[in-house]
Subunit: 213 residues, 2 copies
DNA sequence: CAGTACTGACTGACCAGTCAGTAACTAGGC
DNA sequence: GCCTAGTTACTGACTGGTCAGTCAGTACTG
């Protein structure tokens, strides 16, 4: 179990390399990231990277897939949730998304994709079908139900879903792009609570009904 | 005036190079952008780039500054606008910001900065003080006034300002990152109108007052 | 013909990707 | 237990391609 130097751990390597690569890619971007840095961060030499991944691009794809898959599992559970009111379901769903974004690498991943998807359109498309559509459809369904039941005022569900998601997306990206420079960003919990409050209030036909905070 | 080939136009070059560079940087990112491509797009050879800019990084900074400055001027005018109600002022201010983002290169610039600011923290800081603070403060002032006059419900002005801005930021970034891949994004005008409607409704103490669309 | 805007072949650095060599483990014979 | 031959995870010096940055030379201008 103790491996001071040059130890052999075939099973652990891919995971270690992927998480090291995620860090470096998020920090530098794909083009500026050096595989020597990734290897060093994972405690191996560059040659080892090529034992487990075909190329830099293959490593990049593996990083995206690994991160996204762990996130999809977390999101999967919430879809089947049949809670009381629409605003209640929306609150719970958004809370889970927010948590997933911040506690899994999905947030970092999103920032990485925003920066790089122009150079990797296939990955952008894959991300769209695997993650974005799923979350979008779930949000739309909740809002559409709320509108149908008369709890929400008659907003177009697809646009409203985008609007609900936007502030959280913005915070995730902004934090990761400028967080180091702009120290006075609001704390995540407060941001989440206040934002959801304004959004739900904006959707409700009878204001004050779905309030919580 | 007509310059078929190898003509001399000292005054026009910097501007041409900057706008060519903006395109290439936005498309590829700083690290992956090649100066040969920038030069070709501007209709000159790579050597010419170095007659007007010290280095690739200097060109990058020039791109940012040129784009941001043209935007600041456009925003400057709106601040001194003393229009009727707070929701009216907010609508007008956001409309100008939205227009500036889409009609000047500021939107492209923002996407570029999101992708690269980790590698250029000074530029991130500069952008923060020159653009972000200004817009943020203007938005906060409008919302704070609306709250003080009782038109808006008592939300924290700083957080509310971030919330108002987020959807537009998100749309700008999303469009530029994934626009080519996801064809069914809402058209900008409709997105703007619907979003502002939900947001203003969410802020108002007496719903329906500040409506327009 | 003097001055200058511009060119494009060249250099040197950097880095993705390779591969001959090494160290760590394993199985089997004693 | 100890040696040994075979296997495999890992290393790091090396290669080849790419590209930022240079500069001697060219073509246009007045």
């Amino acid at each position: 179990m103790k491996c001071p130097f040059r130890c052999r751990r075939k099973d652990a390597r891919p995971g270690e390399l992927i998480s090291a690569a995620l860090e470096v890619f998020v920090e530098k971007g794909f083009a500026a990231a050096r595989l020597d840095d990734v290897a060093a961060k994972a405690g191996v030499s560059k040659g080892t990277v090529y034992l487990y991944f075909e190329s830099k691009e293959a490593l990049f794809k593996a990083v995206i897939e690994a991160g996204a898959m762990s996130a999809v599992e977390a999101l999967e559970q919430v879809a089947a949730d049949g809670g009381s009111s629409a605003s209640e379901r929306l609150r719970r769903f958004m809370a889970t998304c927010w948590q997933t974004m911040n506690e899994t690498p999905l947030g970092d991943l999103l920032k990485l994709l925003v920066a790089e998807s122009q150079n990797f359109p296939e990955i952008g498309r894959w991300f769209d079908t695997t993650i974005v559509r799923r979350v979008q459809n779930a949000t739309r369904a909740i809002i559409a139900a709320g509108v149908a039941e008369g709890e929400f005022r008659p907003v177009p569900a697809d646009t409203a879903a985008d609007i609900v998601f936007a502030p959280f997306f913005a915070h995730i990206i902004w934090q990761r792009a400028f967080g180091a420079v702009m120290i006075d960003l609001p704390p995540p919990e407060r941001f989440f609570a206040d934002t959801l409050d304004v959004l739900v209030h904006g959707l409700l036909r009878v204001p004050g009904t779905g309030a919580q905070s």
